[in-house]
Amino acid sequence: MKRVIGVAIAMLSTAGCNTPLTRPASPPSSMTVEQLAAAVAADARRSDLETDSKIRDQLAADAIQNAQACLQRAPQAAACLYYDGIALGLKARAHPLQANEALKSMLSALSSAEAADPKYDQAGPARVKALVLIKAPEWPLGPGDPEAGLAAARRAAELGPDYPPNVLALAEALAKTGDTQGAVDTYRRARDVIQGLPPSRDRDDWQHEADQALRKVSAPH
């Protein structure tokens, strides 16, 4: 899930990650589209690390408010559409009983974001869409559709071939749709891309994910 919502890292404020959460309040009208998008990204990052379901619920509510405020300011902006999708993903996780509807809305928002700017956040709309499609429960139980997920992952990897999460998403989609060798090759390519990056926490996380997935997909069944 980290790659789903661990986006726009550069936009995050570390202060935001350490601030105790209280009841979500409407964002100030002075906040810009960029600040609102960053606020949703911060909520997503915190939610990713949070184990308390009540706090995840609050983070989802806060993210939804920020995304809505963003959309009110710029309804067609890729950033607002994209982070509306991310916020809906947090809502789906916080409220499993409403997850299907939230995931459908999330996919719709991500499609709009991709139409507005497919390169936003290193091809984020297609990448996140791919991950939702390959991880969500499949038809008729949910909006999951591994083949459509693979197509979205290919789009993301074409737009951002050197961004490790795009390559990792493609590898995961290949594994999900039964192309084991393609997945192995793509995870290896992801490792190559990752090893060419300067040291960082993200690099370590991506490396760990690639190694773990490669072991899993290479294991005899």
Binding site: P137, E138, W139, P140, L141, D145, E147, T177
Partner: protein, 259 residues
């Protein structure tokens, strides 16, 4: 096996091949089920353990353990393995949104050449129940028996992909459970599909005794406990977490599980 020994070792195996979810996701829910069912039967606390397996082969391996005295299974699994494993039905499952019985639907390409068993030569049937070819042949498609000798039957967890293959004209057919068949109209390519045949109503799932490993008296007590489980305190809520409404006494078709 003495009652004392049984009280400490009995295991209920949830056999769930073809259905979504991993063992880790399901385990807390089946643990709750075992606890509630044991309490309803008046068994000692913790005398019944539960274990979940999402694969056919994994389920079979677990049922080979002498401690596996009870099993929860789709009807397809029962038909496939009842004779070999000496499965004795105790109760029939009432599933939320489905009921105690369901019809299976064979779907082909609209305007395609398949109109009956005679025109299925060279085709492959894809289904979540594909791990149980005896079920497909004897139960779900009993109306079209005998099926062609070269007909292939394969298991798939990706029924949407299977339906796309059907719609594109590949020599495949999809055998759908009731939930899947009811949702066909939601597909954007629904007009390219047609229903070829439908089964009579068949049980959805069963709880059985495995290989007479549970003494008759305890089996009867457990059966009675299952039937009243949804009326016990917290029972309906616990069953709801497994998408179950309750249990009824088994009413199987005449040929079910015969070798």
């Amino acid at each position: 096996m003495s009652t004392l020994t049984l009280a400490a070792l009995a295991t209920l195996v949830f056999c769930a091949p073809g259905y979504p979810g991993g063992a880790g996701d399901a385990q807390p829910y089946v643990d709750q089920f075992a606890k509630a069912a044991a309490a309803s039967a008046g068994w000692k606390p913790d005398s019944l353990a539960a274990i979940y397996d999402p694969t056919d082969q994994g389920s079979l391996a677990k049922l080979g353990d002498p401690d596996s005295v009870l099993a929860f299974m789709p009807y397809a699994f029962y038909v496939q393995h009842a004779a070999a494993l000496h499965l004795s039905p105790l109760a029939q499952v009432d599933v939320v949104g489905v009921g105690t019985q369901e019809r299976w639907t064979l779907v082909g390409k609209a305007g395609g050449p398949v109109t009956g068993a005679g025109s299925m030569m060279g085709y492959t049937i894809l289904s979540v129940a594909g791990y149980a070819p005896e079920f497909v042949k004897q139960s779900a498609l009993a109306a079209w028996a005998p099926l062609p000798a070269d007909l292939k039957i394969e298991a798939t967890g990706q029924i949407l992909s299977a339906l796309r293959r059907v719609a594109s004209g590949e020599p495949v057919l999809a055998l759908l459970d009731q939930t899947q068949a009811a949702a066909l109209v939601t597909l954007p390519f629904a007009a390219q599909l047609k229903t070829l045949t439908q089964s009579t109503p068949l049980p959805v799932a069963l709880i059985t005794v495995v290989d007479s490993r549970l003494p008759d008296a305890r089996a009867k007590a457990f059966q009675a406990a299952l039937v009243k489980l949804n009326a016990t305190k917290g029972g309906a809520e616990m069953l709801g977490s497994l998408k179950l409404k309750g249990f009824v006494l088994p009413q199987l078709p005449g040929n079910a599980g015969k070798p």
